[in-house]
Subunit: 403 residues, 2 copies
Amino acid sequence: MDIAKKILLVILDGASDRPVKGKTPLQLANTPNLDKIASMGISGIMDPIAPGIRPGSDVAHLALLGYDPYEIYTGRGPFEAAGASIPVKKGDIAFRCNFATKRGDVIADRRAGRIRGTGELVRAVQEGVHLDVTFMFEKSAGHRAALVLRGSGLDSDVSDSDPKHDGEAVRNVRALKPDAERTARILNEFTKQAESILERHPLNVGRVKAGKPPANTIITRGAGMVPDIKTFSEKYGLKGAVIAATALVIGIGRICGLNYIETKGATGGVDSNIDAKVKNAIDALKKHDFVLLSIKGTDEASHDGDVKKKIKFISKIDEILAPIIDLKDTLIVVTADHSTPVAVRDHSADPVPVMIAGPGVRADNVCAYDEVSAATGGLNRIRSVNLMPILMDLVNKTKKFGA
Amino acid sequence: MDIAKKILLVILDGASDRPVKGKTPLQLANTPNLDKIASMGISGIMDPIAPGIRPGSDVAHLALLGYDPYEIYTGRGPFEAAGASIPVKKGDIAFRCNFATKRGDVIADRRAGRIRGTGELVRAVQEGVHLDVTFMFEKSAGHRAALVLRGSGLDSDVSDSDPKHDGEAVRNVRALKPDAERTARILNEFTKQAESILERHPLNVGRVKAGKPPANTIITRGAGMVPDIKTFSEKYGLKGAVIAATALVIGIGRICGLNYIETKGATGGVDSNIDAKVKNAIDALKKHDFVLLSIKGTDEASHDGDVKKKIKFISKIDEILAPIIDLKDTLIVVTADHSTPVAVRDHSADPVPVMIAGPGVRADNVCAYDEVSAATGGLNRIRSVNLMPILMDLVNKTKKFGA
């Protein structure tokens, strides 16, 4: 069979970098397996959005799945909410939330002492707060949570209550246009009622007694509307799965109609059980046409500015990815959502290296997976939003334009 | 410091070319310093506008500064007027003008014998002409001048009075759409009054006596409206300077909010004092975040069809650029605004070689600055309008799209 049937898309979050003393972490790491895939396939560089546009993780992943973020993206909230298992629907307005500690009007700790186990608090808020729209409040990792408002006349164009820095006053949510005034009012009402419930909740009374910062308020950010998009199966006719540790990527997968396959011990850090994730991905390919495998630790190491940790983790990923080389009838695609240079400790706009190996691929002369080698490859310079159409064509499932 | 702080953009006007007997002037010239910068940095080819689109110098420079000419460009007049030190404002209608010699209805000499020293004539016209809008008339280099009309109800969509060739009748200015009728009428009135003043001006009377062609009319072309754009500091948050010899580049710089730094002896030709310009540029980087250094002689040599002159001048530029290699914390960017093949003696649409060296840059294997080497580089193929966003990301000053 000369035409690939399945697609494995491996996203090494923020793995792409700039040179540190002359070489990038991908160049410095020991990556015989990634290099093998490069030598089997075609490489190139890829702008997450467009040259010089610095992307967030949300828009970067949407583009990789072939959804133009300029058309559908309004904020990160919907994807975080879906990742927190809230069954969002098109048109819902969603927010990222933190449980936080408020003293007077000031946010003393945006993470309430990095509180864990907020299930009780979440249930108390869901049961105790009464709004004139439907709402769903759910916990996410650690101090994080997500809120969804559902009803007519809502709009995502509202400001954050999260002041972003400890020691600043919590902000009143404001409408950024007249249509959003009702949403802002409802959100402020939610916070007011939630604070009254949280203040007297036994868990917080206990934390205060124990000298811990209480989770006595909820701050919101990243308002967005759940987009009205075609699911992955509607758009591509593919049955897809997502294997990831972070709520964002899981949520993007869910909103795009991918099945989320949970992996025990997946943390999103360099301590993640990536061995199990890779096994899960290979297994998922038996029942799916498309599997997105997201590995996040590379990005974490970059945000920490820790080049050694990043190099070590890339070498570990390489070792664990070895079995994917033997996949049959499958396009093996390896890339990054965006660059996260350790020198910057944040995302940059630099293009990412991408490679595709498998049946029908025009193998080039590139034999290493890194930013500089990839730039000499047969894909030249593409954009993330081009990737899915290219893969769809390689699995022979594109519609013809013209006749 | 691993992140660049400043940007030096060197534009070798029209340096990019096609092969002449197998090699381009950039390949044939002796350029050890440009080659050193190539080997330090990342190279690529760059379409001034888009593949196959042959650009004027005006739109090419706007694109290099990150302004999309399709959105803001209506004609060259505004930039020439700003370059001639007319304090233009958004919405002004501006024209390039020539003092010319008219015999009967025919333009005998479009440059009035390449007249110089037109200051007196300009003052006489500015004082003697009376229009029902505000106007500013100013001399530029040699026989050139610029005219600006300011007032309500004006429109730049008018034809040229300049017939473009000697021996043709001067053209009546026509409105190219109904809204521009008033502007056409005012312009024809300007010419009529100016001719009457010029005809009897002592300077022209003297020229006729001396057997020289009198500057007895003013012909106009390049009508355009001063665009409503963000200045460089509003758009990028950068304090910028421009070092150039030609009114066009100075004017584009001024309209984009760059400080013009004058250089004694800068002519825009191969005889220009480029040594002083390079010193000025290095000096300007102390007080600016961004410096545009424009060197024009390469384009002049191409328009003359003189390949030897072009090669010799490129070698001279290379020698004089040597000190920029030692700039610290600075992105050194070298490119051309467009190609001007000596064989064509005019601009072509061929992409130009571009290179970026400095902190954080992914150095590639290119080690020569020329059209063919650059095409194998790590930037692959970009467009001029992409350049500023890429540079802004390298100095870590881009906003994030998404979260």
